[in-house]
Amino acid sequence: MSPDSLTFIFINTILANNFVLAMFLGLCPFLGVSGKLNTAIPMGLATMFVMLVSSLSAYGVNLVLVALDIEFLRLISYIAIIASSVQLVEMTLKKYSPTLFRSLGIYLPLITTNCAILGVALFQTFKEYDFGQSLVYASGAGIGFTLAIALMAGLREKLELSTMPSVTQGAALSLMLGGILSLSFMGFAGLGG
């Protein structure tokens, strides 16, 4: 399979190059909102939506930037796009699901500084993906993020019920879990290639 084919990009970004576990992007929500499964999944979905919207807009904006020869403004314009799509998601959620809005709390506006989203926009530009490839890349990254955060939340819910040494409670435990998850995702390396 050629590395440019859509199937390859899709599987590769979900599993082998999972944004959270292999590329270390979007760790703040991964560690912060993964306490409960029923907040983790909406968080994943919201992130995925923002990723799709911002990736598509970034594709369009990049065309303009290249045409006008002002690529040094790329970073600033991408971050502006992301901030406005987050604002959009925030307003939608607040209107249609106030409970969810409250339970996501501070992490909702922080999607803006989720490096996974900026990462998608930047990497698709570096790799010179066309429109279809960018779309697949962004959805793969979003699904991969949701998968990782849901797995983590499931594990942490189980651990709540077990006895742990008092030192390992809190962030250290989450990081160790992340390490083990990341180890197991390394097993996917080379998949689809």
């Binding site: 979007g26 560690l31 990462g119």
Partner: protein
């Protein structure tokens, strides 16, 4: 250090030392985790990343604290992010000009400094509410604390995973590198290990203090 001043704008030792240890951005607040884990596979990368972040933090702090009276409250986050993005673009081109090898090793993570929540968090929580000079002192402490934490990880990962430190071979030819340490899982495990160590020290201290307290009462 012993300056006793009730004035809110006073710059004390705590303003500076907050970021070094008590509220270390990485070990205590767990902010800016992505670069912490992604680029610390060697000590030199960690140092470069730390310094680049410190530059962006300092520069954006100065601008944010100077402009905070003029930025409307509703659009403050967007404004901060754009200020940060400007300085990141500058440092991106600077690193590219100084060392292309380093630029390639750090990859997209220089540009991703924009999304480092530590910087935005400082702008929102500290610089926008304090005088420029005080904010700069605080940002300097935070930046040094961040670089220190990155170095902690980078050194451990490079020694274990490549048997070297700053590219200098430590153990000779017979060393079998623990490759997983420079791969992604190593980042999680080493940081987890550091946190465990710090939590353990804190618990020990708390226990000692409690015993001392009891001894005093008796």
């Amino acid at each position: 250090m012993t300056q006793i001043n009730k004035n809110k704008d006073a710059i004390t030792w705590e303003t500076f030392s907050e970021g070094l240890w008590v509220n270390n951005p990485v070990f205590v607040m767990l902010l800016g985790m992505c670069p912490v884990l992604a680029v610390t596979n060697s000590a030199i990368n960690a140092l470069a990343m730390g310094l680049a972040t410190m530059f962006v933090l300092l520069a954006s702090t100065i601008l944010v604290s100077l402009l905070s009276d003029f930025i409307p409250k509703q659009v403050r986050i967007a404004t901060y992010i754009i200020i940060i993005a400007t300085f990141v673009t500058i440092i991106d081109y600077v690193i590219q000009a100084i060392s292309l090898d380093l630029y390639n090793a750090l990859g997209a993570f220089i540009q991703l400094i924009v999304a480092n929540c530590m910087i935005l968090g400082r702008a929102e929580a500290f610089s926008s509410k304090n005088k420029p000079l005080k904010s700069i002192v605080n940002a300097l402490g935070m930046g040094i604390g961040f670089t220190f934490a990155l170095l902690c990880l980078g050194v451990v990962r490079e020694v274990l995973g490549a048997g070297a430190i700053f590219g200098i071979d430590l153990f000779g030819e017979n060393f079998q590198p623990w490759v997983v340490m420079i791969l992604p899982p190593g980042g999680f495990l080493v940081l987890g290990g550091w946190l465990l160590l710090f939590d353990w020290i804190k618990q020990r201290q708390a226990k000692d203090e409690e015993q001392e307290g009891r001894a005093n009462v008796a």
